[in-house]
């Protein structure tokens, strides 16, 4: 088992090196069309070329790229006019703000619905749940976000179509859990009111604007989780030990909790471990763009539009590495939690 885990870590390291190399090749060796097209930003081009040291030999550039990357020296973002590292640190909390609740909620709801639907297989509820899962997997969640914005923002007017990032900050512009502020606070530009209002991450106004992003990024997650849980639980619904327990007169609640969920929980738990790290996945990227949440995804998108090279590379590499690590964590957790698994065979 130790051997397997070591091997798995080694392969992840190889993969990480590979993706770094791919990133280096794509952005450095291939003639840079984007930079050439952006000739009017001549100063940027020169600075970029000088900093990247295009006169140095290829190997030196590659080595210094790797060294810089591992040292956290990720370059300069022209769009934000600060280092890439600072940009990442500033945007990350916004991604976590809706990402973390969405992952926790979707995992538990998904498992619950999946279990319920497995126990009541071929009933109407099961069909409804299965159909809903189909719906959740098929709907592009960024388009779903648009639909919800149209319904709740345009037609019902319950929420603002734009995202007010300042609502999570205190009067000094720092993120805070909960504080009160008067109408000089930047979140309330253009509004005048008497007294104090609450701001901060946990303030009602901020939570209200997070509801839709959380809900939308949950749809795909719940559906996937539900299908896993249902398939996993179905393996045990007709197992001998469940029949025995039923024959002995064990209450149905206890059967579900102790005889079906327990063995099914192992693979589900590993998925949970994997998903916790994979907060910033493809769907969330687009969700941030649609809602205008200033998280990692939106930063990356704007960097792509503005051709902010260093920021593009880092904002694309970070999620890649997170997925890499979460896959690793998932596999390792699986081996540790389930002694039955044979880890020699790849098939």
């Amino acid at each position: 088992m130790k051997w397997y885990i070591l091997q798995r870590i080694a392969w992840s390291a190889v993969a990480a090196l590979l993706i770094l190399t791919v990133g280096f090749i794509l952005l450095d060796v291939v003639p840079d069309q984007n930079l050439q097209e952006a000739q009017f930003q001549a100063a940027h081009v020169e600075a970029a070329e000088e900093r990247r040291g295009l006169d140095e030999p290829l190997v030196d550039r590659y080595v210094s790229f790797l060294v810089n990357f591992f040292q956290g020296d990720w370059g300069w973002s022209y769009e934000y006019d600060q280092t890439v590292w600072t940009t990442i640190v500033e945007t990350l909390p916004y991604s976590i703000m809706y990402g973390a609740p969405s992952i926790i909620l979707s995992t538990f709801l998904g498992i619950l619905i999946g279990l319920y639907s497995a126990i009541h297989q071929y009933t109407k509820t099961d069909y409804v749940a299965t159909f809903a899962a189909f719906f959740g997997i098929s709907i592009p969640n960024w388009w779903f976000a648009i639909i919800l914005l149209v319904i709740f923002g345009t037609f019902l007017g319950w929420i603002d179509v734009g995202f007010n990032a300042r609502l999570a900050e205190n009067a000094n512009g720092n993120l805070t859990w909960l504080a009160s502020a008067d109408d000089s606070h930047q979140a309330f530009v253009g509004q005048e009111f008497e007294g104090q209002r609450q701001v901060g991450i946990l303030s009602p106004a901020n939570l209200k604007q997070l509801i839709l992003p959380i809900f939308v990024s949950m749809t795909g997650g719940i559906a996937t989780m539900m299908r896993y849980a249902r398939a996993e639980a179905l393996e045990y619904v007709d197992a001998e030990f469940v029949k025995t327990a039923r024959a002995k007169g064990v209450s149905s609640w206890r059967i579900v909790a102790r005889h079906i969920f327990r063995p099914a929980a192992v693979p589900l738990a590993t998925i949970l471990v994997g998903r916790f790290l994979g907060i910033f996945l493809a769907g969330s990227y687009l969700i941030e763009v649609v809602f205008g949440i200033p998280g990692l995804g939106l930063a990356s998108y704007e960097a792509i539009i503005e051709q902010d090279q260093d920021l593009v590379l880092v904002t694309l590499l970070i999620p890649t590495f997170l997925v890499l690590v979460s896959n690793l964590a998932q596999d390792v957790a699986y081996v540790i939690l389930d002694p039955r698994i044979s880890y020699g065979d790849r098939a």
Binding site: V14, N34, I137, V289, Y301, L317
Partner: protein, 438 residues
């Protein structure tokens, strides 16, 4: 010398006096095995296609515009002497912007080359066999028919496909028309200040509100493009990208999986170590990175999807083929001296077709979604009108012209949903082991 041959079975050919191992069976095979007209035709189509695409690429990227020189900085000796204008001297052909202009077809875009061979391949490997074997056709239809949702989905997809392919040929690409912007769909009223000035003349405007007109049944975008036409053009793009990239990745996956399974050992090790590494990457970010750095023409998009997407499929096919490899018929075929290619094509490939179809049905919708997402981010091909692009067009105007983003999305959603339903039903119909409502 005794006559070893059996007079009962001996023919008057040359075979009668040989031992089994003395006969050159390859000669016998090649003498008796003639290709059918159908497969000759298919080979001819493939040949013409490869010749056309090859010539097109050569003229464009070697003769007109030395791509190799651009990337590597070194010229291949002699290339500079080549001049694309000699194509003009061939009757019927001409050069336009470095691309060959064919008679009747005109310039064939690179993605259209891929699209055409994919359609031909689907016809040859799926439609023709079903047409020729009515019993098989009836059996599959009976199985498939059990699932009502899948039948409806199948019809829907067929309609999308036909309307998209035919509609994109008979209508021009939607163009920006200043002033005609933001006309609502038929039956929808909107404040008249939203609609552009010449749009107000076209649409039914009175008393401060404008109602949609049948001239633009689904309304127009913020730049005055007709949404119905955009949607029709988007149908072909989605189908093209989904089917073509899936075809490419399926060919790669099946070839590598079969090679790995047949040869085993280090071939297997190398191929599937690579798959292990490739599968740890989140594909979407790789797409973003590549499209950002080398550009996202439709051809490049299809290539990227095709070359990145195949890992999961290869893994599925490998585990299926591993079981098939142990079957007696594979051993028998090897014992009879069949070549590796023959064993793989005639014995392994047909028997893993269940897995292949499962993979195809999962892959098409995911690629369609990926293309739409990239187009929505503005990283797709700007020269074609796709659903994702139209959706992003209306994103800034959600509170005023909400229909621009929602209408193309409905088609995208329904198409993906339909592919998922059909895929589910196909899996049930073809593979009797998975009966039930999973």
């Amino acid at each position: 010398m005794t006559d070893r041959s059996d007079p009962e079975t001996a023919t008057d050919g040359g075979l009668a006096d040989g031992k089994f191992e003395e006969i050159n069976w390859q000669d016998v095979d090649s003498a008796e095995y003639t290709r059918s007209l159908k497969s000759k035709l298919w080979a001819a189509v493939l040949g013409i296609w490869a010749l056309g695409l090859g010539a097109n690429l050569f003229v464009r990227y070697v003769m007109a515009d030395d791509l190799f020189h651009e990337i590597a900085g070194v010229s291949i000796p002699g290339v500079a002497a080549l001049d694309p204008t000699w194509i003009d001297t061939i009757p019927g052909l001409a050069v336009a912007d470095g691309w060959i202009q064919f008679p009747v077809l005109g310039v064939v875009a690179l993605h259209d080359w891929l699209w055409s061979i994919t359609l031909a391949g689907i016809a040859y490997y799926a439609v023709v066999p079903l047409y020729e074997k009515p019993r098989m056709r009836r059996y599959y239809w009976r199985q498939f028919r059990k699932n009502k949702a899948a039948v409806i989905s199948g019809i829907f997809l067929l309609v999308i496909f036909l309307v998209g392919v035919v509609g994109s040929r008979v209508t021009d690409q939607p163009t920006e028309q200043a002033g005609l912007d933001s006309i609502p769909p038929v039956g929808i009223s909107i404040d008249s200040f939203v609609v552009g000035p010449s749009g107000q003349e076209v649409a039914d405007c009175s008393g401060g509100t404008c109602t949609g007109t049948w001239e633009h049944p689904l309304g127009t975008t913020t730049s005055g493009e007709d949404i119905l036409i955009s949607v029709i053009h988007g149908m072909e793009i989605s189908m093209m990208v989904g089917l073509t990239a899936t075809a490419l990745s399926t060919v790669i996956a099946a070839t590598l999986a079969l090679l790995a399974v047949y040869h085993g050992g280090w071939v297997d090790e190398i191929i599937f170590r690579w798959v292990d590494i490739q599968l740890t990457f989140p594909a979407f970010f790789l797409y973003l990175l590549i499209v950002y750095s080398i550009g996202g023409s439709l051809f490049i998009l299809i290539m990227i999807f095709g070359f990145i997407e195949w890992g999961g499929g290869a893994r599925l096919m490998r585990s299926e083929a591993l079981q098939r490899r142990e079957e007696p018929y594979v051993t028998a075929s090897k014992a009879a001296g069949a070549s590796p290619l023959w064993t793989m094509r005639r014995h392994l490939l047909p028997n893993i077709s269940n897995t292949i179809i499962t993979y195809v049905s999962l892959s098409i919708p995911s690629i369609i979604l990926a293309e739409a997402a990239l187009a929505f981010l503005g990283l797709g091909d700007a020269t074609v009108t796709s659903w994702g692009q139209t959706i992003s067009d209306g994103r800034a105007e959600l509170s005023r012209a909400w229909w621009i983003s929602t209408i193309p999305g409905i088609f995208l959603f329904l198409t993906v949903l339909a592919f998922n339903f059909v895929g589910d039903a196909l899996r049930d119909a073809i593979d009797p082991r998975h009966a039930g409502a999973e």
